[in-house]
């Protein structure tokens, strides 16, 4: 339903009412903005001194870009591993053999239900007792992200393959293909197109969750930008939060835009007979029979 039909083309009275509502809205928004401004002002947050570090190239080079590198490396490694994990376990859950299907299901459902931070803490403390001393922050963040997001992606993979109409696999079997050929040549190529948007949306979640590394002191953007930088430039905490917030938001908006574009493309794609898989956590109902992977499958957001 288009939200614009919620209200009619306004008549004279409705125009007055909308006018009043607009005025109230403007006043409310202005009040909130002024409240923020005044709050900052009262604590001297508009002081040029605390914003000045962000105009210098070395601040960016030493702290922000260094942290951004940490975030992106962790996200990239975790993304690749999570996709492999998701492909393996998603396909394992579709297996015809009980002894593969059920353990894979237990693993996927289990890791999806564990709060990610607990998983990261656990790996962080477990690793030294197994592999000896050392810094396991990176390994803990990456493997935690891999296990959690991999499990979510496994559901996406499963939903993508199941979204391909039954006639496709029946036709493939009837021309004499084997199980492995049906999957490899018919179901996966069509399923992947349907999965792409959901996979990219999950990558946004993964990228955001790398910030959990901050808690176990992994050197990521949040750590260098929000812990180290304000310690060096005393008082720059709020400017730092705003700057790194903008960086995170732009990265995620870029990825989300890609996901939306992919979804539109896959919706009109003729390369697949399957409708696009709904990203886990996205609450889209109605429309051309969306495939929602798992009932309570959702990101840590």
């Amino acid at each position: 339903m288009n939200t614009s039909v919620l209200f009619d083309v306004p008549g004279p009275r409705a125009r007055i009412r909308n006018g009043i509502l607009t005025v109230i809205g403007v006043i409310l928004v202005a009040a909130v903005l002024y409240g923020i401004y005044a709050g900052f002002d009262a604590k001297n947050q508009w002081d040029g001194r605390i914003w000045e570090p962000f105009l210098r190239a070395e601040t960016w080079k030493v702290y922000i870009l260094e942290g951004l590198k940490g975030t992106l490396v962790a996200a990239a490694v975790a993304a690749v591993l999570a996709m492999v994990f998701g492909a393996v376990f998603g396909l394992a859950r579709l297996s015809d053999h009980k002894w593969i299907r059920i353990p894979a299901g237990v693993v996927v459902e289990g890791f999806r239900a564990i709060p990610l931070l607990l998983l990261i803490f656990f790996i962080f403390y477990l690793a030294p007792t197994i592999f000896g001393g050392g810094d396991y922050a990176f390994i803990a963040v990456v493997s935690g992200l891999m296990l959690y997001n991999g499990s979510v992606l496994a559901e996406v993979v499963r939903a993508g393959v199941l979204a391909v109409p039954k006639g496709q696999s029946e036709a493939a079997y009837s021309i004499g293909m084997r199980k492995n050929q049906v999957m490899r040549l018919v179901l996966l190529p069509q399923g992947v197109t349907a999965m792409m948007p959901a996979i990219v949306s999950q990558l946004v979640v993964l990228l955001k969750d790398t910030a959990l590394g901050y808690i176990i002191a992994y050197v990521d953007l949040l750590n260098t930008g929000f812990k180290i930088l304000p310690a060096v430039f005393f008082g720059s905490l709020i400017p730092a939060a705003i700057v790194i917030g903008i960086i995170y938001i732009s990265l995620n908006v870029a990825l989300s835009t890609l996901a939306n574009w992919l979804e539109k493309r896959s919706r009109r794609s003729r390369k697949t007979a399957a409708p696009p898989v709904v990203p886990p956590g996205a609450a889209v109902l109605g429309g051309p029979t969306p495939v929602v992977p798992g009932a309570e499958g959702v990101s840590t957001m």
Partner: protein, 222 residues
């Protein structure tokens, strides 16, 4: 196993804090999310823009940053305080950050729900002369809520799991913080980890089943 039994009271107290955070979060995020969705479909462009900006900014910021900012930025630097007791103060700061963060997702879920309400419903509401506010509260939102009970359940489950990030907001009494503290003395302990995981599942699974059941019961027959 001995560690789990030894530290069980501490862990249970920590987990209780997660439950409390979840309860506050459910109430506040649902209220705030509903207000946001009303803004986003309102006939006032200013409110629509404000709602859209809020949702897109908050949804794309890591929760860790939101909570760390509530503690270090809002409270320590800007002087926002809910209570003079540090522990109570950080509890409410985390609850606020968590609610503001989750509200963006509630808003998105509800907006998807509004999209499932057939066009004829809004047209009929207009035809009998209901104003925007009346048609929203009497016709559209009740149907939208019923359509998104299950997705809202998923959002709430995610929020319950997110209460563990409270550590980032300086609230060091929740289960994750207690677990970390315990690990500092015992080393990584599988029974303790599994114990907390089971405790979380004991909350999230019933929420999932309940919202699933409720969604089927409340589904609007069309």
């Amino acid at each position: 196993m001995d560690e789990l039994i030894q530290y069980a009271p501490d862990l249970a107290r920590g987990f209780l804090e997660n439950v409390k955070l979840s309860l506050v979060g459910v109430v506040c995020s649902l209220i705030l999310g509903t207000v946001l969705v009303a803004m986003r479909v309102s006939p006032t462009p200013v409110l629509r823009a404000a709602g859209t900006i809020y949702v897109n900014v908050v949804r794309n910021t890591p929760l860790t940053l939101v909570l760390a900012f509530s503690a270090l930025g809002l409270s320590d630097t800007l002087g926002l305080a809910f209570s003079s007791v540090p522990r109570t103060n950080s509890f409410w700061l985390v609850a606020m950050g968590l609610s503001c963060y989750t509200a963006a997702f509630v808003c998105e879920a509800l907006r998807a729900g509004i999209n499932t309400v057939p066009l004829g419903q809004a047209e009929a509401a207009r035809a009998i002369g209901l104003t925007f506010f009346q048609s929203l509260t009497l016709i559209i939102l009740p149907q939208a809520f019923r359509a998104v009970v299950a997705p809202l359940g998923s959002v709430m489950i995610a929020m319950i799991k997110n209460t563990t990030v409270a550590t980032a907001g300086g609230f060091l009494a929740d289960a994750a913080a207690v677990m970390k503290e315990t690990f500092d003395t015992t080393g990584a302990s599988i029974p303790i980890f599994l114990g907390i995981v089971v405790a979380f599942m004991a909350v999230t699974l019933p929420v999932g089943f309940f919202t699933g059941w409720l969604a089927r019961r409340l589904a609007v027959a069309r």
